[in-house]
């Protein structure tokens, strides 16, 4: 004997809810990546995926003493010792992979040395129009050893 009979619309609602929760649980079981939650609320495999991209800039250690001993020695003594090879010579990745590929130097001296009120005084600055009317900075300055005059 039943004291209480559940109304049919409630039964349908309960069944629908159970169905939705069940399908959610099944979907979650199948779709949650295995590494999700290993470190936190994210996919731990993403770390490796992001790290797997290939670097573009070769880095200073690629320009080693076997190839550029003289240039490295000169630059280490002068004011430009903090300047990396790729700062001025640009991305050298292709050149490191294949020595035949020429490096195209595109950064000019004035990019850093043009007079600018926002530039700290520690860096030597010139007003290029007043400084020299000739063609190239390298006529008087050695970029690898700025204090030296050729």
């Amino acid at each position: 004997m039943r004291l209480f009979r559940m109304p049919p619309q409630i039964v349908r609602l309960v069944l629908l809810t159970v169905g939705i929760v069940t399908s959610y649980l099944i979907a979650r079981f199948f779709l949650t990546p295995p590494s999700f939650g290993q470190y936190g609320f994210y996919r731990a495999d993403a770390l490796e995926e992001i790290a797997s991209r290939q670097p573009v800039f070769a880095g200073r250690q690629s320009c080693d003493k076997n190839c550029h001993a003289k240039a490295l020695e000169t630059i280490a003594k002068g004011d430009h010792k903090t300047v990396s090879c790729e700062s001025c010579h640009g991305n050298c990745h292709d050149h490191v992979e294949d020595r035949q590929v020429k490096v195209i130097t595109h950064v000019t001296c004035t990019r850093c040395h043009e007079a600018d009120p926002a530039r700290s005084p520690f860096i030597k600055q010139i007003e290029s129009k007043k400084h020299y009317s000739g063609e190239r900075c390298t006529e008087c300055h050695v970029p690898h050893q700025p204090s030296e005059v050729p």
Partner: protein
């Protein structure tokens, strides 16, 4: 035997059937197959995130605004042309106060043409009106309590154990909540990948033992980069903190940014 099945009976059988299906080994095989299709896992490298803690520091006095960092960052990370920057340089020009005004400093003019990646044009303010001016490089502030990771609804952006705040491009749905959440404006919507994008500290470089591209090309060592868990002899970060008075950007927001700035003025936001 024709007795109608009771609700209890139906529910119990449903529940046990579900439990049986889920624990069944065939389900596990099927799960692995589904995940193989949906989730790609490239070859692992030997990098262990828990053994590192990366940090960048900025010496504003040493920044000369050449913009090589912003240019290199675009090349290194294939950031599309246009107003999309993972790192950029701002020029702050503080004018002299108006004569007669009881002020020590006048208005501040901030500009960053093309993120500074082509260098800066001559100052828009005549030299005689300038009280002082300086450049400030900006990047992801590597917050301890990063609002961007908290805003992400799908777990696509996260604070990795080594201190980098990264975006999982396979999980990002491009909703843009994180872009609004970042108080430093360090995030953007990448129109090529259709996901949120940001400075990853050149994660693909630092995990290989290389320095981030911006640090690599900075000619004046204005950007100092290091690993707090593996300090080297005369560690540049330790030297930097020792020699300078350091600050962080917008500390009042409680995001606990980790990127340190030295020589910062009160106008910097």
């Amino acid at each position: 035997m024709n007795k109608p099945a009771s609700r209890r009976h139906v529910l119990t059988s449903l529940g046990s059937a579900l439990a049986g299906v889920l624990s069944f080994s065939a389900a596990r095989t099927a799960k692995a197959a589904v995940q193989n299709v949906l989730v790609s896992t490239p070859a692992p490298n030997r990098y262990r995130a828990a053994e590192h803690r990366w940090l960048m520091a900025i010496d504003i006095d040493r920044c000369i605004g050449c913009g090589l960092c912003a240019e290199a960052c675009k090349t290194e990370n294939q950031v599309p042309v246009g107003a999309y920057f993972r790192t950029w340089i701002e020029r702050y020009i503080i004018k002299r106060p108006e004569p007669g005004s009881v002020q020590l400093r006048g208005d501040t003019v901030v500009d960053s043409p093309n993120g500074g990646m082509n260098g800066f044009p001559p100052s828009p303010v005549p030299r005689e009106q300038i009280l002082k001016a300086f450049y400030v490089p900006k990047l992801c502030n590597l917050c301890e309590h990063s609002p961007c990771s908290q805003a992400c609804p799908v777990g696509a952006t996260f604070d990795s154990p080594d201190g980098a705040v990264l975006v999982d491009p396979h999980y990002c749905i491009g909703c843009g909540f994180c872009i609004q959440a970042c108080p430093y404006g360090c995030r953007f919507f990448n129109p090529l990948t259709k996901t949120a994008d940001k400075c990853s500290l050149c994660y693909h470089r630092i995990t290989r033992g290389l320095r981030p591209a911006c640090v690599e090309v900075c000619p004046t060592e204005a950007r100092i980069f290091g690993d707090l868990k593996n300090p080297v002899e005369n560690d540049p970060l330790q030297q930097f903190v020792m020699k300078n008075k350091v600050q962080t950007l917008k500390p009042h927001l409680g995001t606990e940014p980790r990127v340190l700035y030295a020589g910062m003025d009160k106008e910097v936001r």
